[in-house]
Subunit: 264 residues, 2 copies
């Protein structure tokens, strides 16, 4: 987390190491959504053997997309971000020397993933163009807004029906039998299942608990476009042992791109 100065047009920012330094992110220093473990867990939902075209919806500075590239050598990623400011961070991240080994497999697209029909395709998101979509949608409910910061709010506030619009686009751009993964809050499980239903099947839910005796703080849902299998609730991920602040080995491996979330 040392300050850096590669791109003079960027606002105050930090250079943050992920996957034990195997890639870095340029992120706004004090404002906006800062990527962390959520993005790493989301990326870990992609199977380790994945190869092909991945879209990162709402990519921010590119954390989840780059984390997939870092673990999956055959993956290529399109980082889709609506905010000009965050897209600029993603672009600066890709040209940073720390990411030169990944940059050739990634690109940034400034686009609103909630566009529909021809407008979506014209913006660069063609139907059936991807093998996998990951998304970390703005998921803080209105009631949770504790900060007046506009950029952070844009990234965190989950408007009514947003899951539905994001999933509609994901279902359009993912090829048949392609994959979807999304990270959200536990209380959004119902809205997410509704939005996935009829579009993605073979759904798998992974709850993420801080400790074995505490309620989940996140859920990750994964599915297959056009799959017909039923929802499975997989064994949860426990981040810490009771009484410890250190990550359990599995959580640490997932956070550092060593292991996948669903074990595949």
């Amino acid at each position: 987390m040392t300050a850096s100065s590669p791109a003079p047009v960027l606002p105050a920012h930090t250079l943050d190491a992920f996957h034990r330094g195997r890639f870095h992110l340029l992120q706004p220093a004090a404002r906006g959504h800062r990527a962390g473990m959520d993005a790493m867990m989301l990326a870990a939902a992609v199977p380790s053997a994945f190869a092909g075209r991945l879209a990162d919806f709402g990519a921010g500075a590119g954390a989840a997309g780059l984390a997939v590239l870092s673990r999956c050598a055959g993956a290529r990623a399109l980082l889709v971000e609506r905010s000009d400011e965050m897209a600029a961070f993603a672009e600066a991240t890709l040209v940073h020397e720390a990411n030169v080994h990944l940059a050739g497999r990634a690109a940034v697209l400034r686009a609103d993933v909630t566009l529909t029909g021809k407008a979506r395709a014209a913006a660069g998101l063609a139907d059936n163009a991807f093998d996998f979509v990951v998304m970390n949608p703005p998921f803080n409910a209105d009631a949770d807004r504790a900060t007046p910061d506009a950029l952070k709010r844009e990234a965190h506030v989950m408007e009514d029906g947003l899951f539905e619009r994001w999933m509609r686009s994901a279902a359009a751009v993912v090829r048949p039998r392609g994959g979807i993964a999304v990270i959200a809050r536990p209380e959004q499980a119902g809205a997410l299942l509704d939005a996935l239903g009829g579009r993605f099947g073979n759904l798998e839910l992974k709850a993420v608990h801080p400790r074995a005796d505490r309620a989940a703080i996140r859920i990750v849902l994964r599915g297959v476009r056009g799959g017909r299998g039923k929802l499975a609730i997989q064994p949860p991920l426990m981040l810490h042992d009771t009484g410890s602040d250190r990550f359990r080995a599995q959580a640490d491996a997932i956070n550092n791109g060593i292991a996948s979330l669903f074990g595949d």
Copy 2:
């Protein structure tokens, strides 16, 4: 599980011990739905300190309702069952000498819980008449029907929209701030959350896994009529240790009415 013969009108049946013999069920020997651990886990969702009027929707022979009475000394239970044959088993269960210590707090109502409005009240299910409803709805999907047995099918098949109808009735008969608990299959989480939404809040979900490394086989959802709190995904229940067929201590305690499912 010894054969018994208290009521000559009953078809072939067994007398089965629950809660380490603290109550017994008369159940059809070979046909129909036979109660077991599902009913015990459902009953265990009721807090141990519960006192008041409980309705067991789709009670069958009365397993869940009696299990609540067995653990909660201040509870009274109405066993609501549509099938004449199963209601006869519930009535025979209540008059059996093995249950004399509980029978004074229980009654059987032959009624279809999907009735609405005045018909539901006329059938004996008045609005706001209960402090808690437990339900073990017919939850096998059509595709799972492996048996031609009509009585078993009636208990197991989940018709489209059945959760909606059962929850509508539950919301009507439970007083404000009263409770609901339902056991179902993991793939029904979305339909259940939809049916609960707007009626019950403070929802808690408990996934039941056979072992720590296996997908869940059941979910139990609990909520509060008119509650405004968000869905919480609680730590799951693991029935067995990996590599063992014996119940883990917590699962054994829940199955035997020693502990509650949500720890309250």
